[in-house]
Symmetry: C2
DNA sequence: TTTAAAGTGGATATGATTATCCAATTTTGC
DNA sequence: GCAAAATTGGATAATCATATCCACTTTAAA
């Protein structure tokens, strides 16, 4: 029901939010989120154009979340890569319906509205803070080879 | 968020439910629901295999709803043509998560669950009975050229 | 029995999504 | 300035969803 692209974008953003406000390279994100790197880079370009992340070239560059996780919702991420298409007018173009959806499309749109609302009401911070055993996405792993030397 | 195929299948079923228990030809359905006929016929074949409709060849044949509209839900139709894919286990295959979804996937799955529930709770009869000005799908039209002579 | 109506199945085309590759550009540190 | 690290942009491939076409079969009625 959600496209691969949406899934990938959300994985990347959750990972970035977890590291926020530090920057990560596309390579790091790709590895930990199991998203094919070349494709991920396209998705990130999109998120960059939508001002969700900032990208920085060159040595020491990478991708950074532009806003604090508490102020970024899942919906904004989803809408950046693949906007949720609500049904605004009769898909059959029936003049007699117009904006007054028939019962079928009314319910389909209601379903989409509930998804939209759920996504609007969830911030990245909430996802990170969830009191669950498993941290989002990331498997329990040995720490990175060189965890020290935090890039200031 | 829902594919064309789902949209088409639902349109066809609503139309059929409205005529139920009479049979309609693919041609009639295609015309009134504005679905390309060759594609619609594939969709209907699918619904036929899933025992949602019955198809009958030959003169006077056509497509019939197999069950009364009150006993058919939107969900069954959707699942017949394109099953709603719930997230059962961690999409990243993380062993430490397993069936215990991380907060991100938990919420994505919750969203899908709400759609599924809404669709499960709506029967075709409810859609037809909705007290709305406009009947489902069908524009207000002059009656067919020859409305009499109901095919018994 | 012939004919016209109707769905079936298979082949094929078209378009969008997903995915990959690479040369070019930017940036930092030496 | 040079080299290495990083993203960018464009070209291209692979796969799936959408759509079309047609010869064939089934069926009922004349």
């Amino acid at each position: 029901m959600f496209s691969q692209t949406v899934e990938y974008a959300l994985r990347a953003i959750v990972f970035l939010a977890d590291k926020s406000p530090e920057a990560c390279t596309t390579e790091q994100i790709a590895e930990r989120t199991q998203v094919p790197k070349p494709y991920l880079s396209k998705v990130l370009q999109n998120l960059s154009r939508c001002e969700i992340v900032r990208t920085q070239r060159g040595v020491g560059g990478g991708v950074t979340l532009l806003r604090p996780p508490a102020e970024l919702t899942i919906l904004e991420v989803v809408n950046a890569v693949e906007p949720i298409q609500r049904i605004a007018t009769c898909p059959l173009g029936l003049k007699s319906h117009g904006k007054n959806l028939c019962p079928l499309h009314r319910r389909m749109d209601d379903a989409m509205a509930s998804v939209e609302a759920a996504f609007r009401n969830t911030t990245l911070a909430e996802i990170l803070a969830e009191p669950t055993g498993s941290p989002p996405l990331c498997d329990d792993r040995k720490p990175e080879r060189k965890p020290a030397l935090a890039r200031s």
